[in-house]
Symmetry: C2
Subunit: 344 residues, 2 copies
């Protein structure tokens, strides 16, 4: 079986305004200040898992040029341009149907474009384990992150039993929605719960059959998408639904979903707090990307890679960001209001 | 006598970084957000005092193109390009010697390019009064601003007696350096002290004779500056001295300096506090220029005319400024450190 990697890169990252905008969202930004954008880092961490010609990117039509520029080695025909955002189920279905057409005996990894992994070597080991499993079994594997804190921003996976003859893989009993804090603490104490990272591994037969079973309308939409014109007319009318609701939950209820618990320093970089967490800090707890000069500042997170020079004095626990001529200065405690700020 | 206006526009405005930079200093910035730069406002307030062909600008050679662009009606030959900054005495002497050459029977107003006047009508009345006086008398007139607070950032003029037959003009007893706070309070209580605004009125015979008398070396330097090549070789070696030390103080000691007390809403815009003072405020005491959106901010002064959009949340008494890709956020109480911030 050939391994294929599908990168979902259609998000708009509104919580990172002005760093991330609908015109140029965060997966295309060097958000960590390391010289590589998030989608480039995502490709990098699959180096060795499969060759570049087996990578696929599903993104909004508006971002195709950015993808081409940032991933020049990506085959142009593997950049799938969504005419409209329809959530993850149609996105994943499209990529998998295209792969089925090109190489039906494929083993597939699906990943978001905007997460970070601090230990790519361990990441590859886990992915290769999962691929080995799905090459032999007709099952879905989701990568489960061992939780390090009672996080309320992620969905959880409740594990079942360990498979005696397949190393680290465990069965999934159920998926759990984002919990409140008390529930998250219970999950952490219980030890049998993992974060759902949205990284899936399966073979093409398994996933296409699963979609035919649980979302027959979506499957028949996919069968109708033979030409570009078909895509333009069919895709925008696909049901807007996540892969979790469309496939993972019903499949888990039938005992067909497994998880590979993992600990490779994963973060979804979903908010400024998680970015602050991943940046290296000065002695006052500030994390900064750009030509940033700080005086009497503490626990700030600053991102202004395009700015010539930024001088900040006397700020405690603020977010400061500049991109494309827009500037944000905001208390870290108020970061949930940033989307509102960007729209007013 | 023809009236001529000399605008001194060679400063670098380092206290307003990043709004003002050595490449593009504050006199060329629309610092009040009114659609006109400070040098344009300076020209505007002399409308009617004399025609445009009688305006002169003395500035650094680096700023000549900016002056031409901002004052397209200014005669090109009246833009004097200093090859080096030598303080105000050589600057004023050069302009006055050039005027003497072109129109020896001139009556002259010398003004900085970067002050603001809130009541230009009253300004013109005062200037015309002073010009009428110097057209008849061989004296120097300096405009004295009636103090509204015990300001320690300005020099003061100690008034002598009022001239019975010349309206509002008074004799000057002495110039006083920037005082400490207690002295400034005494000056204010005394009532006989005015702020020295650096606006001078005299006829060409008076000022050239005064420079010949008090600074004969500077006068002979001026006599040697016949060609551009002369300017390049002579001007950079002129003594670096202010007009106050070179002429005003010795002339005042001999009773040859007069002042016109005035109250036309003058400010030298020398720091962010004075800019905050001159901007209109929202109900929370913020003054802002640009597309600025404020949430829970108080008593801030914000200038970011070039930025696409600025969102500030939770700032109390801060300076926020952006220009040319550089950004400053700094407590208002720390504004004396801005020059240091800009250089590090």
């Amino acid at each position: 079986m050939k391994t294929q990697v599908v990168i979902m890169a259609g998000g708009i990252g509104s919580r990172f305004w002005p760093l991330s905008t609908p015109e140029y969202p965060k997966q295309f930004i060097d958000i960590l200040g390391c010289g590589r954008t998030l989608i480039q880092l995502t490709v990098d961490r699959f180096k060795g898992v499969c060759p570049m010609e087996n990578f696929w990117v599903v993104t909004n039509a508006a971002y195709v040029d950015i993808v081409r520029k940032q991933l020049p080695d990506m085959p142009a025909s593997h950049i799938l341009a969504e005419p409209a955002a329809r959530n993850t189920a149609p996105c994943i279905a499209w990529a998998c149907w295209r792969i089925k057409e090109e190489e039906p005996e494929s083993n597939v990894v699906v990943t978001p474009a905007d997460a970070v992994v601090m230990n790519p070597e361990e990441f590859r080991r886990v992915i290769n384990n999962a691929l080995a499993f799905t090459s032999k079994h007709d099952v879905i594997v989701t990568i489960g992150i061992k939780p390090s804190r009672p996080e309320t921003g992620y969905g959880y996976i409740k594990c079942g039993h360990k498979l005696s003859d397949d190393g680290e893989i465990e069965s999934v009993e159920a998926f759990k929605e984002k919990p409140d804090h008390i529930t998250a603490e219970k999950y952490l104490a219980d030890g049998g719960y993992l974060w759902n990272a949205g990284i899936f591994v399966w073979n093409i037969g398994t996933i296409t059959h699963a979609i035919e079973t649980y979302k027959p309308n979506l499957a028949s939409d996919m069968e109708r998408m033979k030409t570009d014109a078909d895509v333009q007319s069919v895709f925008p009318n696909c049901e807007k639904i996540s892969i979790d609701y469309a496939v993972m939950e019903p499949a888990a209820a039938e005992g067909k979903v497994y998880t590979h618990p993992a600990d490779f320093g994963w973060s979804d970089l979903g908010n400024w707090a998680s970015l602050h967490d991943k940046l290296s800090h000065d002695t006052d707890g500030n994390g900064a990307v750009g030509n940033i000069h700080l005086y009497e500042c503490n626990n700030c997170v600053v991102h202004a890679e395009d700015a010539k020079k930024v001088v900040l004095q006397g700020l405690d626990s603020y977010i400061v960001s500049e991109k494309g001529g827009s500037i944000l200065v905001c208390r870290r405690s108020e970061e949930q209001r940033i989307k509102e700020f960007s729209q007013n």
